[in-house]
Every structure is written in structure tokens, then in C-alpha cells.
Symmetry: D2
Subunit: 496 residues, 4 copies
């Protein structure tokens, strides 16, 4: 049977299937990330004269994921509990075909957790780049919506009921605020993803032996020259015999730089906060995107009709019900958001279960959970960018819905303004009178406007002042200022 017959292609993961984040986190991409870590390490060792420079091209040739069989690696991974062990065997066999000494130039001083954790971070960084871009696209689009709809009056809803007037612009700005907060933090975390490089027990012991061995300075220089321009930064004696106290750490720092990962204070084999921090902010992306989706799903219901998703060929149709147009982008975003907390809980529980210098099971939980969070956040961000850019806004429907509550939507203001006019000198007494008018209006015993007109003398409240009092558009508070504060606060980020 074809190995692919046992594979997953995302069929049961519509929230992320087909997105860049899914592709960048596939098994083959993860194999590639592991190979990249191994290759860069061989380069570091060659640059500093610790392995022969001519082994590098052989390792390079062997460092292509498509040379390996992911399904077989997955199965063989069970023997040791992780996929590095079988991959390393295959990589060495492959490299040896190109150069007899290549096999022994690979993985020197490293442990499988070094490779796997660093590859996870590398894969994460690659996927995060696109996710951050999508979040910025969404943020910029929401900023435009916020600005454009700062005068679009809509009803604010609390506990599902109409509360006060607001603007659609402020709603969009609040969406932006969430997306940008999560996105800003995600970008920051993406820049801090650390290398893991501690050796079998986190002491860098084998690495220290390796770093401390006498290096032929000529060979190191030669190797550096042979390895090309990037190696030119290598200080001749770095990590060499004259440098035996800092050697191992300096080699690790070089590797971090080559991989574009941060050089951590120390290995973090059983200190999993770099993973929990990444997971938490991915979950926050889902929270922020989920809020948007929840609102769009509600507001695009036929009975509300205030918003509509952008139409696209082949999206949202129903074969059975030809009139139906489903808000599929929001459905998928919401489904991603609903799945987030469970994966975050997995990662937190795994981290909290760490023990010893490499945990007995909790480490293994992180891999799939972190990948799923990357995919879900990536799927949500991609759909959100499309949704934000194409969102159809229907101000007339917003006005129509606002009219359901009518003048009662400013009852808070009426209470605050009119009650003192009716208190007959007894502070607080006016409140009951206003409530009474509201109740009459709710019981269809007249419009609130008329009831108020009848109750308050015109010299206390002119017709004009009454009309102004009852105008929802006049009771939106700091809506416009808040839009400005939010959009300006995140403007630089969303356009960077």
C-alpha cells in the first residue's frame, strides 16, 4: 500500500488545510528543519576547524528532505521515541555516499533533543513569518474599516440586547486592537525563539570535549575560507584550544546565528517556557480572530444582515439549498478558535509535567500540539485577512436594527438628563418618573419622544434639545477618539 494512504492531508482540518502555515509545518518541512539544523552545525564545526571542510558539500547534498521517507521515519521513531534517531542514521548513510568522512562530521556533540527542539523553533519561525504578515494585512484592513465607518451608527449589544448607540468604526477598531495586540506579541516571540543546544544531559559535555580539542588553526582558516563568505565572520581562535572555557558556548552561539534563532541563557530541555510562551500567544491570536468571527457570524445572519462575508467562487454554497450563502471564513476561524484552548492546555500540562533532564513523555506531547496551534493560528490569520479586506458593511441594516429599539436606545442619556428635570426638587425622585415613561413606551402607549414631550415643559427642554437628546448619533461618546487612539497606536506595526 502507498504510504500516503496512511497520511493526513488536512481533510478533517478545514480551518487550516491548504494554508501556508499547514504547508510550512508538514512532516517534510519538519524533516527539512531537522536537516537544516544538522547541516548548519556541520558548517559551524567546519568553519572552526573541527570537522574537515570537504565534508560540508556532502552533508549539503544529503540535506534535502525529499531524499527521506517520512512514513518510514515516523514508524521507526517509536523505537527511541523521537524521529531524530532514524533520520540521523539515514542522513549519515546518505552523506557517506558523497564523502567517506561525512557521516562522522554530522551531529557531533549533539543529542536528539537538540535537533528536535531547534527544528521545532525553526519550523515555528518559518510559519510565523506568514502569520504575522496576515495579521498585519487584517489589521490594516480593519483600520481602514474603522476610519471609514467612524460615522456609521450601529447599536451596541450587551448580554445580547440592545444597549446604546455606537459606530461600526469603533467595532472594527476594537477588532483591530485585539488582532494587533496578539500580532505584536507574536512578532516579538517569533524573534526570540531560542536554539536548543545542550547535549545529552544539558551540560554540553560532549560539545565541551569537542570544542576543547586542539584545532589546527590553519585547517580552521582554510575551512572557513572554503565554506565561503558567511564563514568569514569566524574569529580564528574561536572555540579553539586557547579558548577552552567559552568554546562550547561560543560554538552554540554561532549555530544560533546561522539558524536565525536566539542564543539562550542556557539550554532549556526541561524548562519549557519558550514553548508555553509561544503557545499562549498563538492561542491569543485565535482569541482575537475568534472575536471577529463571532461578531461576523452574528451580524451576517439574515435577521440582522449588517455584515456579509466577501463572496468567492466556490465558497459558501450549499449543493442542497441553492439560496444559501454560508459565512465559511468566519465558521472556519471560529472553529480554529474553539480548538485553541485544548492545545494550549496540552502544552501547559506537558510543561508542568517535566521532570529530570529530559521528561518521560511530556516532551513528546508538545510537538503535535504546537504544530496544531501554528496551523490553527495560520489558518485563522489567513482567513481573517481575506475577511477583513472584503467585509461587506451595510449601514442601512445597522440603522434598521437600531430602529427596533428606537429612542429607547438612548434611555441611559434620557435618564441622566431628564430625571433631574422631573425631580420636583427632590433629588432622585425623577428617576422613577422617567422609568415610568419608558415602561409606557415599552407597553406601546406612545412613542418615548411624545411621552417625554408631554412630561417635560418646553421651557425646560426645547423641542430642538429634545430632538438632539434623542438622536442616537449624538450619543456615541468617544467613539471617534477611540478609533483614532487604536488605529494610531498600531499604525506603524500594521504597516511594517
Amino acid at each position: 500500500m502507498n504510504p500516503a494512504d496512511h497520511a493526513d492531508f488536512g481533510l478533517l482540518s478545514p480551518a487550516s488545510a491548504g494554508t501556508a502555515a499547514s504547508r510550512l509545518t508538514s512532516d517534510y518541512q519538519f524533516i527539512q528543519a531537522m536537516l537544516d539544523v544538522e547541516l548548519e552545525w556541520t558548517r559551524v564545526l567546519a568553519d572552526t576547524g573541527r570537522v574537515p571542510a570537504d565534508a560540508v558539500p556532502a552533508v549539503e547534498q544529503a540535506s534535502r528532505a525529499d531524499l527521506y521517507d517520512a512514513a518510514a521515519l515516523a514508524e521507526r521513531a517509536q523505537g527511541g521515541g523521537n524521529p531524530v534517531i532514524p533520520l540521523l542514521a539515514d542522513l549519515r548513510a546518505e552523506a557517506k555516499q558523497h564523502h567517506p568522512g561525512a557521516a562522522s562530521a554530522i551531529h557531533k556533540g549533539a543529542t536528539s533533543q537538540d535537533i528536535l527542539d531547534s527544528a521545532l523553533m525553526l519550523m515555528a519561525r518559518r510559519a510565523l513569518a506568514g502569520i504575522v504578515t496576515d495579521l498585519k494585512t487584517a489589521a490594516a484592513a480593519l483600520a481602514r474599516q474603522a476610519d471609514q465607518h467612524r460615522g456609521t451608527i450601529t447599536v451596541a449589544r450587551t448580554l445580547t440586547q440592545h444597549s446604546l448607540p455606537s459606530t461600526f468604526g469603533l467595532k472594527a477598531a476594537n477588532w483591530l486592537s485585539g488582532i494587533a495586540q496578539a500580532g505584536t506579541r507574536l512578532e516579538q516571540v517569533a524573534g526570540e525563539l531560542p536554539l536548543q543546544w545542550g547535549g545529552a544531559a544539558g551540560t554540553m559535555a560532549a560539545l565541551t570535549d569537542l570544542a576543547g580539542r586542539p584545532v589546527n588553526p590553519t585547517a580552521a582558516a582554510d575551512n572557513a575560507a572554503a565554506a565561503g563568505p558567511t564563514a568569514g565572520t569566524a574569529a580564528p581562535n574561536d572555540g579553539g584550544a586557547a579558548n577552552d572555557d567559552g568554546g562550547a558556548l561560543a560554538l552554540a552561539a554561532r549555530l544560533a546565528e546561522r539558524l536565525g534563532l536566539a542564543d539562550p541563557v542556557a539550554p532549556w530541555q526541561t524548562n519549557r517556557l519558550p514553548v508555553t510562551a509561544l503557545a499562549a500567544v498563538l492561542a491569543d491570536v485565535l482569541v482575537a480572530a475568534g472575536k471577529v468571527a463571532n461578531d461576523v457570524l452574528l451580524l451576517s445572519r439574515p435577521e440582522l444582515g449588517e455584515l456579509a462575508e466577501p463572496a468567492a467562487e466556490g465558497r459558501g454554497g450549499s449543493s442542497a439549498m441553492p439560496q444559501k450563502q454560508n459565512p465559511v471564513l468566519s465558521v472556519l476561524i471560529r472553529s480554529a478558535a474553539l480548538a485553541g484552548p485544548g492545545h494550549l492546555a496540552q502544552i501547559q500540562a506537558a510543561a508542568a509535567g517535566a521532570i529530570d533532564e529530559r521528561p518521560d513523555g511530556s516532551w513528546h506531547v508538545e510537538w503535535q500540539a504546537l504544530r496544531q496551534l501554528l496551523r490553527l493560528a495560520g489558518g485563522a490569520a489567513a482567513r481573517l485577512a481575506e475577511l477583513a479586506e472584503g467585509l461587506v458593511v451595510r449601514p442601512e441594516q445597522m440603522r434598521r436594527n437600531l430602529a427596533i429599539t428606537g429612542e429607547l436606545v438612548v434611555s441611559e442619556r434620557i435618564m441622566a438628563t431628564v430625571a433631574p428635570m422631573l425631580d420636583g426638587g427632590s433629588p432622585g425622585a425623577g428617576k422613577a418618573k422617567v422609568q415610568n415613561l419608558v415602561n409606557q413606551s415599552l407597553a406601546n402607549q406612545g412613542t418615548l419622544a411624545q411621552l417625554l414631550r408631554d412630561a417635560v415643559p418646553v421651557d425646560v427642554l426645547s423641542d430642538e434639545a429634545l430632538a438632539e437628546l434623542l438622536d442616537p448619533a449624538g450619543y456615541i461618546g468617544q467613539s471617534s477618539e477611540l478609533i483614532d487612539r487604536i488605529t494610531s497606536h498600531y499604525a506603524e506595526w500594521s504597516h511594517s
Copy 2:
């Protein structure tokens, strides 16, 4: 690029990779399950004369998963939020090649949720069979261990410290108890997995039209005959015009029977308790297996050495540290157990978020979460069966560890027995005296045996009675009876 390049082969899921449960829940197996539901429905309709019998062979020919492109289906699934819509299009196109009328004989009166939910249940049932078998294998092996080691004295540990003597047999019996409780319930749930068949809105409306249309009795009989022996059970008028009250429901019942699923009281499109119940018991399997793994991981540490995992070629070795033998089976089981609660929370949260007649995102969360639970439980059960059958038990190490605490391990008994001998007529006064002796022993001021001998007159407690009192093997309570109760309680199940 090869579509498989974007696929997952289980590389980051060592707890389940390569197991039958993983294979039986692959994307292609899920496609097959969806095709099976469609095919059996066409057969039901042909048997009852509602579609032409000669369309059936065409649908059969088209109902092979390998005819379809899982990667493309996954990507197209985003348009409608589920994979049924694109699969149905491809299936119809394929079937039409074999018979012009086959396309219209497919999916009549059904909705995509009917297919997807029923296929999920079908896939679950197929995976569950093997999981239950593995649990029974494990249970039977544990029952043997329990029986064989009913006299193997070991120390019971509470809050990590030595408490009292016990037997390894009782520990094995308690493991069995958990596995069998979860397994029994899993087998029960596996037999109750329901068909979903409600049509677009759960009313069976299209189905009712379909069922209610005049059926040509001759055609129906002919079809039934043509469709072979299984169709012989079809009552000629079943679901027909003369049967318009029960028609749609009777057709659904036929489909349930064909698929080996339960015929539910009603469609359950937004009542997801069948899914949460299955998920909860899968999580319980992980709990029970996790307990075994936690104990084995502890007891096979070098400092304890009471147990060892069965050795196997290529398992547990470390390339870097040639002396190391890792308890990989238990590590993988424990990692599965740690991941369980997060997936269960996803499914519960999704179910709790259901709304309307088909939810706006929470339905989509279940698919991957349920699949992962099936795989994790399947992976854990498979490894557990191997672990239980091959577990190496080292009674001598158990004795050695028990000796660390020495006679103090029966201090509870000493307190209960000796204190009254020392109370000098004042009830309770003896307790402080015994505690004092224990403290002296802890402070290495003599063995507890000697201290007791000195403290209690020989006519009150003979040398023989003292020796008996201090023998751990004499203070194991109902250990043997409990082993019998547990093993006999589950004997029938584990051998069925």
C-alpha cells in the same frame, strides 16, 4: 510538488504512529468511510425501489478511496467547510462514467453532515475493534501477572514515601481494574455509535419526500432481487406510499443496519452527546493506561529497578549513550495520556458551543480531536498490550527496596498492636511510647525489633509473636482476596 510533501505521516506523533488505529483513521480511510455511507444508502434506495438497481454496480465501482485525491479534497473542503461537498462531486463524476443514471442515485435526501457524522462513527467503530482487543490482551496479561505475583511482597508508596507492605500482584490487579473498567465501557460505547441521518435541517424533509413517492412494487422487488441476498429482508412496501408515516425513518433504520451503526431515537446534529461520550471513554482508556505507564516509569528507574520493559530490537537504545535502555513503551503511553485531557476539552467545548440546527464552527472542531483521541487511545492500548505481556518483574529488587524502611514499614501495625500493651492502663498513653521507639529507630539508636523487644515484656509479646508482627508478608491484608475479586470480575470480558 508532490501532495504528500504537505502531508503528515505521524512524524510528530510517536505515541500513535505506525499503529493500526492510526492507519484506520487516515484521510483515505475516512474517505472510504464516507464512500461506504454513500454506497450503502444507494443500496437501501435500490432495495426499496427508489433508485434503479442497475445504478448500484456503478456506485460500487466508484466507491474506492484510492480513486480520489485526498490533498485536493482537503483544499476544496474549505469552500463549504467540509469535505463531503467536493467528494460528492467527484464521486458523482466517477460513477457517471460507469452508468449515466448513477450520479442521481447518490446522496438522495441526504446532507453533508449526515455523511460526515456517520462516516466518523464508522471510522470510530473500525478503529475501536482493535483497541478493545488490545485492551483485552493487556487485561489478560495483567490478570496473569496479578495471579502469579500474589505472593510477591513489595512496598506500597503513598505521597512518594513507603507506607505499608503490599504485593506486586495487587498492583497488577489494580492496573487491570482500570484497564478493564475503561475497556468494558469502550466496548459498550462502540456498540452504540449512532447513524446520523436527518437531512439538511434534521427534519428528514427531503427523505420524507423521497420515501413517500409512489414506488413501483415490481421495481422494488426486482431491485431487491438484483441487489442480492442482503436485500431479501426488504419488505415490499416498506417506506412506500402505503407507509408514509414511517417511511423515512424505516429507510434510515435500514441504512443503520447495513452500516452496523445504531439507529438513534432522532438525528443528533446539534446534540453531540454521542461524540462526548465516546471521547470521554477514550480519555478514560488513556487515564487507565497512563497510570500503568507512570508506575512502570518509576519502578524501572535504576534506583528502584523493580520492573523492566520487555526488550525489543531497535527499541529504547540511545546512539550517544550505549549503556542506556529507555522505557519507550511507557514513555509513549504516558505522552498519549498527557495529551488526552486537552482533546477531550476541545470536544466538550465544541459540544457546549452548539447552536441552531448545525453549529457555526463547533462541529468542525470535533473531527480532528476525535481522530486524535482514537489514535492516542489506540497507540496506548497497543503499547500497553506489549508492555503487559512482556513486563519483567524483579521480586528481589522489591524486597531490597522494602528493606530500606525495614520493620518501620509495619509501624502502623506496631502502633495498633503494641501501643495498648504499653498504655499502663491509661488508654491511648501507649501511642507516645511507640512513637518514641520509632523515633529512636529513625535516629539509628537501635533496630526497631530490638527496641520493641526491650520495651515489651516477653510474656505480653512472645519472641515468636514479635517476629510475626514485624514480618511484612504477614501484613498485606486482603491483597489476595482483592486480586481474586478484580481478576474474576473482569475474567469473562478480558477473554471474550
Copy 3:
């Protein structure tokens, strides 16, 4: 400072505050449950002649929760990690005041986990009784709604959009189905809550010594007589010297019977499936109740207006916005449902982390999580009963909302019926034509009725048949049959 100043009264738990379930799970109720376990055990021992009968009244007098200081016990519980140890000290001191030998008649052969686990089960059983009753009340009310509204046409919604006609009766029946499934299972689990009685290491060792000691048959008979009628069931030699193989187990069985708990196959100190099973079904109650709340929250929005919560003095008002009436019952139910999965995950993770013969931390996690689930389920059930009994249904609003989609709501039926009429002899060709008519209607180029009239010859489809085809009330499938199936399936339970 007053100890209550550090206490919680439910201020931050509005979903459950003030309910019977909260009261029945308070710290004082838990203390009472622990005291009840201790007292009944003393009674068992007295009945069987193992402690003096005259100690019983002293223990009875001391077994009132209000004699103890919960705040101080909570603080002192940290010393040993559980509250049994300090409570036992206080209980013995209290009992001793009434009878000098009472202190030593308490807790004989037991361990703190026996008391705590059994008290948890006892507290759960007491809280569950009311929860089941509330669920039955809700179920019965929903059955009435289902029956009464079997003809109330409403629109079914899938992925937030209008799909097909249905009835409100069917929606109510589906709610009932969820509530009754969860409720039935909850009642079953409530009847199976097991006693925990294993002694310090789960071997019943001290208990075995205790059971095996020569019992003065006269004393036992005397004690039994003195203890009153319930003791009359005690076989004279039960648990006595002549019965030393089954003695300890028989004593435990007596205790279980006295406490109204199930007598388990074996102690379950580190086999926590009784706890996970209870937690899972409580979570299912929240799922089922949450579904109802989600629907009510949507359907009572001003734009939909199909439902309204029952009004009650002091509920749902807003001080600031006098016109507002919030659906508070549903808000609280939904908040309970949202909190459920996290607590279930805690309990599952704790159970999966069990190790040894008493776990090193995971046991302690269960207590608060299980209590919270009892409270949340209890709060949800209580509010649901009130909601279901008083739910205001507005058929006219349902019709109004259905009219938004108009004849298009039966487009599935039109497609199935009319397409064959328009296929011009080429099967399948009619579909595109119908879709075209639908599109024209969506584009406001005529009502679908008129467009269909124009497209289909009257001899193929009469005016009458066309009208019938377009009537939503005629396309509700098995709605009525499903209502009957569901209500009859659960009728007995909900009225028991």
C-alpha cells in the same frame, strides 16, 4: 479578623451562587460528609462488636459540622495535604468529652483517603439528587413545549443561515433529547458512586487485623441491639474470627450500605475512573444545557425575537438602561457550560497523573474541580428548569423571520421536484435551470413563485400543486414523528 473575611460566598460564581448544589457542597457540608463517614464506620464496628456500643452516642454528639472551624481546618490541612487529619484530631477531642473511650472508637483501620474519597462521593450523591430532579423538571417542561409547538413553523438554521422549515416543537424535543440523555446517565452514575475503603495502602491491612480479632459474640449482639433496628441485619459472626477471610470486605460492605454508596470491586485509591466518569457526565449536563442557552440567547435577541425568558422580579434589569431586559438565566447557563471543559480536563489530567498507591498531588486536584462541576451543573440545571417552564414562545416572530427567506426556504424541495420537470429529457439538466430561477429571485427579478409559474407548464405542475410545493408547513418531514419518538423515549424518566 473574622475567618469569614477570607471565605468565598459565591460572589464570583453567579452561575451557581445561591443554588442548592452550592449549599450542598459547601465546606461545612463537606465536613459533615466526612463526619458522617466516620460516624457510620464507628456504628459498623459497634454493631459487630469491635468497639464498645456506648461509644457510639458520644461520636454521634461530636458528628455535627457546626462544632468545627472550617477556616482553621483548611489552614491546618496543609500540614498533611488533606483536611481529614486535623478534623480527626478535633473529632476525637470532641468525642472524648462525651465518653472517654470514644476517641479510640473512631477511624479504626481507616486512612484519610478513605474518609475524604467517601465523603466526596457522599457529598456528590446529596447534590446529585436535586440536580437530577431539576433536569427532569426541565425535560418534562420541554416535552410539553415540544408537543404544544409541533405545528409551530420556524426556520431551521445551519451555519447561521436559513436552511429549511422546521418546527419549534422539534427544536424543543432536541433540547429535551440532550437533557434527558445526560440526565439519565447522571442518575445512573449517581447510583453507582462507590465507597472508598482500603486503608493506608489499599490492602485493607489494618482493617483485616481489626476484623480478624476475636469478637465477643455477646458483645456484638448486644451492640447491635443497642444500636437499634438497622443493626438487626448483622449476622452474629459476620466479620468475626470465624470469618477471617471475608471479614474486612464484609465490614466495608456494611459501611457502603449504611452510607448509601456502592460497594466497589476493590478500593480505587489510584484508579480514579469513578471520578472521571462522574465528571464527564456532569460536563455532559453542561453541554446539553449550554445548547439550550445558546439557542435562547440567539432567539431572544431583538432582531429575532422568537423567544423570551420568563420575567421575574429583580432579574435581567439594567440600572443604567431602563429599557433593557437581559436573558440572565441563559447567560448564567452558558457561562457554566463554558467553564465545564476546563474542570473536566483538570480531573482527567489528575487521574492520568496518578502514581503509586496514593498520588503525589494529582489526588488533591480532583476535590475542588469535582465540587465546581457539581455546582456548575447544579446551577445550570436549576436555571434550566426555570427557563424551560417559563419560556415565552412567539410563533408570529418565527413566521416573520421565516418570511425573510420566503419561498427560497424550500428551494431544496423545488430543486428536487421541479428540476426533473425542466430537464428536457436530459437527466440533470434541469438543475441549472432551477438554480437560474433562484438566482433571479435572489436578484429581485421576481418572486420565486412567479418565476416558477412562468417556467413550468401548468399541466406539469398545477397552480395548486405549486402552492403546495412552496408551503413551508408542508416541508417539515418527520418533525412530528421525531417529537413523538423523543418525548416518548424519555417520558418515563422525566416523570419518575
Copy 4:
């Protein structure tokens, strides 16, 4: 019945009962926090001339939590779904007794969510101060342990098995690294906790009316003077008529400053990332503390004996088993860590479920979950500080355990060093020979030292070099440098 009879005192929460974090998050403390928010707002309004200055003392007198009945408030909170509404009624009634106009000087322009969210942040800030202090205490103690034990050789364990030598100092430093990472971030988040001040719909509408009303400058100045020195910072026209664009926002900024909360970009009523960020870092505290507890629980087992918890009167004893000393601090920390992920999942799920301008249930979930996380983190931090300061380290037991593996513990180094000596000119060939020697040693066919001596000519590897090669203390890599890096990195923080 006494209301306290229905209260919780922490009896089922031993991980946090009796700690400062629990006390600072009690219902009464939360009432106090709500009162503080109301009072400070009244002061802001008085300072700026919007309410009469002489109302302030009346509000001050009424702003003492002990004036209110928490149990009654909890029960009444159900009517509106939150406790602000009943508290506000009682507060106004109380204040009115001191000054007739005080009632109307309270809560002007605010909504209940403003009070509740701001009070939550205030309560969190108060609890966090002590948690951060405890984490610093623990960190400083761990830094001392790390430094003191940089030469204490111990065995590193991976997947439960012995891997390589390490030092206890490095283990302590790694613990410190986790604690300090989480603690640093917690302190940062504690400084960013935002005020919530948006009014009923997040638009600050009522507030804008209030801010925009003509202020009598004289009155404002008078009020400011009357209110004492803190009011001196009020600019005369601030928020006044001349300042109508920034007035409401400036008033909110003043309130934030008074409360010591951050002034956010905008209200965050349905953008809950401030809550999820706080929850995530509290969960990280639990992760870091949990790792320490897991290690201590393992290493203080009798069979390992490398560590012991500090003894304390009344802690860790067992009434039944007088010899037992339980590691209760670690048990409680671990139990807190196990409960963390579930609460974090609740908060994330709640945030992801937000909708509208105030959510219909998800907001209500956060309160209790956040409080529990504060308590668990507080409990864990307090116990950790005590544990870290008093941890008993037993270097001789570490040596004894290391000896179990003997020279094999440096097999990685032997492989790297000796294999090339045995390859007979064929690179890589030596590995199998070394593995063979290791296997012989494992099979007790000689010590590895002797087998190596026999296999490698003395001129290739001198006796002295062989002894050095086999010395575990010589193979600890960068242990000391990593200790320095970690301790110096966090030195400033832990002593600040």
C-alpha cells in the same frame, strides 16, 4: 443558618489555603476592590468639580467591605449576572446615610463591567505583589544552592534513565531559570494591568456627557483643595467644557493613576487579552514551580534520597504510619501545577467566545478562573520559597546513585574518545568494538575500566588518561559556566 455555613474556606484547596494570595482574593477583598474603584471615581469627579466635594467623606465612610453582606450580594448577583448591581444599591444606601447627595455622586457614567473588571485588576495587582516577592525569594535561594553545589556531582536522567554526570548546582540553576523567567514576566504583566472604563457600551457616552458639562471652575478648584493634596495635580480646565475632545479620556486616565492601574489605549470589554496574558503567565509560574516539585518528589523518594524537604512542626506526618515524612510542600505545588492548564483553558475559551460589546456568558467565566489561578500561583510561590530556602541536599546519596551506573555513565565520552583508538584505520569501525565492551560490562563480564584497559594499548591511552576519562567529575561540560550565566542573568531581578 449562618451564611458562612454555605461558604468556602479553602478546605478542598490545600494548595492555596491559608496563603496571602487566598486572603487577598477573598470575596470580601473583592468587595473592597469594587468599593475602592467606586470611591476613587467619586474622588476624580470631585477633584474636577463634577460632584460636590462634601460627598466624598460620605462615600469614604461607606467604602468599607465589612459593611456589606457577601453572601447576600452573591445571591442577589444572579438577578443581573454580576455582583456590582446589588453592591451599588447597598453602597448608595449606606453613603446616603452620611450625606444626602452622596448616592448620586457614586458610579456616575460608569457601567457594572467597568467596576468589576477594574476591581479584578486591582485585586490581581494586590495579590501579585506578594507572589512576585515569593518568587524572588525562591530564586535567590536557588541561586545560592546553584552556586554552593556547582561541584556536587549528580547523575543527569533522561527518559527516567541515567544519562551523563551533571551537578546539582546546574539542576538548581535550571530551576531558577524557569522561576525567574516566569517571575520576570509576571512582574511586567503586574505593572501593565489596565483600568476598564468604557461605560455601558464601551463608547464612554455617559462619561462624555458628564465630562462635557460646564464645570464651575471655582467649585472644581474648591473641591480639589478640599480633597487634599493628591487633587492638586488637577489642571483647572481638565475635562471641562473647554476640553470636550479629551475630557472623558482624561478623567479615565486620572482614575487609572489613582488606582495604580495602566491607562489602556481603549476599553477592552470584549477584547480580553489583558486577562489571557495574565492567566498565561500565572500558568507559567505553575509550570516552573511544578518542575521543581516533580524533581523534589522524585529525588526525595527513599530509594533515591538525594533531597529532602525542610522539616516543620506539624507538616508531613502521618497519624497512621509514624515513620512517614511526606514531602507535602512539593505535593501541594505539584497539585497546583496540575490544576493550572484547566483554568487557563477556561479563560482562553471564554475570551475566544466573546461577542458583541459585552459577552453573553463568557465574561462571567473569567472571574473565578482568574481568581483560582492567582491562588494557585500564590500557593505554589509561597511553598516554593519555603522549599527552596530549606531544601536539604545530600551529595553522598547523589554519589551513591551515580555509582549504580558506574563508569558507564561516561559511555558517551568513552565512545567518542576510545572508538577512534580502536578503528584499526577504518573510521567508524571502533564504535562496534566499544559497544561490545559496554555490553560485556552490562553482562557483568568485568568492569568497564578493566575491559577498556585490556582493549586499548597503554601507549595509546595511559593509565592516568584512562582514569581521567572515566571520572564523572571530569565530564560535566559547561555546568559551571551555565550556572554563572543563569544566576548572573537573574541576579538583579531576584534581589530587587
